[in-house]
């Protein structure tokens, strides 16, 4: 009986601690992991969102600062493997393998100087 009672506690704890989420358009988007790896690309992990759409994630984050100028300085305080500018405003940052890309993107998003920060997603593109 005790075991049965403890199980919901354990389950709730796991759900509550899930770090597999990011922020997009001001909303928290939760993902659930899918057991799949892209061929020849073991660094990609796959997730599904609430609508069942599949998203690939690797150790990269895309972000945009509130003010484009000085964004590199904003990012300098974070422990990032590399920072590269894709445009005047958008940056691609890499985080080390031992870091959780979701937690880092949450941390970056929480920075008032950063407007957008989410993992660099791999999404299925359809030709039309």
């Amino acid at each position: 009986m005790k075991i049965k009672l403890l199980m919901p506690l354990v389950a709730l704890t796991m759900v509550g601690c899930a770090s597999d989420f990011y922020y997009e358009n001001g909303k928290k988007i939760e993902l659930s992991k899918v057991k799949e790896k892209r061929e020849n690309s073991n660094d990609v992990s796959y997730y599904k969102n609430a609508e069942g759409r599949k998203l690939g994630v690797k150790n990269e984050i895309l972000l945009q600062c509130v003010v484009a100028k000085g964004c590199k300085e904003v990012l300098a305080k974070y422990e990032l493997d590399s920072v590269s500018a894709l445009s005047d405003k958008i940056f691609l940052v890499k985080v080390s393998e031992d870091k959780n890309v979701f937690e880092m993107s949450q941390k970056l998003y929480e920075d008032e100087a950063i407007e957008i920060a989410h993992p660099n997603f791999i999404k299925t593109k359809k030709r039309r």
């Binding site: 506690l9 509550g16 759409r53 894709l86 691609l92 030709r127």
Partner: protein, 423 residues
């Protein structure tokens, strides 16, 4: 019993604390809203920015710069001197190009039904321009740079996936981008068919890896190379916030982006669908058919702007264009055209038709803004499907046909008339 109560309470409190600690909702006090756009009113009575000029000149064969930095263009690229539009009729497959002139189409004689008004009234637009001086980027899975009806109009090529200049497709199904590009820039050269803006130049960008960073890179390259129009016949139904931010940046740079709505015949307003074609900063395009109404396969929704010929190979011939099979040759020639050409359908092909018309609009009015482009395209669109179930009563917008079918003649004429208020 007491222990059970304590355990349940403990569970709930723990879960609640952890949930709060791990974040709920946005930590930002306000959502990172995009800058609001102020649409510019179209003023049909404004003086034209361009002079009337219908001089006929022999089209100049320009240097193709595949794999090299493009040659600097002269300052005179906005000249309206252009090919005599009547020469278009000498293109061998013009007679199948119902989207250009359905009255001249002989497909009805071949057993395929074409409505007499299924075209986009492009011949009226060609009296003003054929797109000289405008660069159009096609972001897709590659292009056949040796194709006889494409090569002379390629400005530059770029592979956004590996940052090379190689845009040759590797997909066994061929290069979808080849067909898309042909619908815009196929020149008047006595071969095959003709594009909507046959004197515009192509920035052919291959971007196939399904990675948001590469998508951003592709758009940035198009901007850097001076594209005024970017045609995209693909989508994810799940566009990322950074990609939307990039599209906003492209829009702010005065570049018009056109996206295909997709071919599932479904509403993009459905829960969970958040497609590129619905983004505020792009023109979303559905497909019309040979029967001069919306295609049953064409996705629709409140953020789609208009429909344009995309054909329907199930019910008729489809659209004649450059083959999408690369060196393998055509897969659907209907025994009417050689293997470099094909009949096809989809919102993929309606999209470059719109992009081609947008190129013509920039040719007659280089200062036109994306907001003005959208306003003109939607205001001049033809209301089709009136005999069917169309209902344009609310703001001129029909659920499945958006603001109607592209009318190139009216759109380019209006673009020429207005004086841009943009920077």
């Amino acid at each position: 019993m007491m222990k059970r109560k304590i355990l349940i309470t403990l569970s709930l409190v723990t879960a609640s604390l952890l949930f709060t600690a791990c974040g709920e909702g946005s930590p930002h006090t306000s959502s990172p809203a995009l800058i609001e756009d102020t649409p510019t009113e179209v003023s049909p009575m404004e003086n034209s920015l361009v002079e009337e000029n219908t001089t006929t000149t022999v089209p100049k064969e320009e240097e193709t710069v595949i794999g090299k930095e493009p040659v600097k263009e002269s300052n005179n690229t906005q000249s309206l001197s252009h090919t005599n539009p009547d020469l278009v009729k000498k293109e061998p497959y013009y007679k199948y190009a119902w989207h250009i002139n359905s009255a001249d189409s002989i497909l009805n004689d071949k057993g395929y039904t074409v409505h007499k008004n299924a075209d986009i009234n492009i011949t009226e637009a060609w009296k003003l321009t054929m797109g000289a001086g405008v660069k159009v980027a096609v972001i897709d899975d590659g292009a056949d740079v040796t194709h006889e009806d494409l090569k002379s109009n390629i400005y530059i090529t770029y592979n956004a996936d590996d940052e090379s200049t190689n845009v040759k497709g590797t997909n066994e199904e061929g290069t979808h981008g080849n067909s898309c590009a042909g619908f815009i820039v196929a020149p008047v050269n006595g071969k095959g068919t003709v594009g909507i803006a046959p004197e515009s130049k192509l920035i052919a960008i291959r971007q196939e890896i399904e990675d948001d960073a590469y998508v951003v890179r592709a758009f940035e390259y198009a901007k850097k190379q001076g594209a005024k129009v970017i045609s995209c016949s693909w989508g994810t139904e799940n566009v990322s916030e950074v990609v939307v931010a990039e599209l906003k940046s492209i829009y702010d740079a005065g570049i018009t982006v056109v996206f295909a709505s997709g071919n599932e015949g479904t509403s993009l307003d459905s829960k969970g669908l958040n497609d590129e074609s619905e983004v505020e900063w792009v023109i979303g395009v559905g497909a019309s058919t040979e029967l001069n109404d919306v295609g049953s396969y064409s996705n629709y929704g409140k953020n789609i702007d208009l429909i344009a010929p995309g054909g329907d190979t199930q019910e008729s011939s489809g659209m004649i264009g450059l083959d999408d099979m690369g060196e393998k040759g055509s897969s659907n020639g209907l025994d009417l055209v050689n293997e470099n050409y094909s009949f096809m359908d989809g919102t993929s092909f309606a999209t470059p038709v719109v992009a081609g018309v947008v190129a013509l609009m920039y040719a007659v009015n280089p200062e036109i803004t994306p907001a003005q482009v959208r306003k003109i395209l939607t205001a001049t669109a033809t209301h089709v499907g009136i005999d069917s179930d169309a209902d344009y009563e609310t703001d001129g917008f029909d659920k499945k046909r958006a603001y109607g079918k592209l009318n190139a003649g009216r759109a380019v004429f209006e673009a020429k008339k207005i004086k841009s208020l943009a920077i």
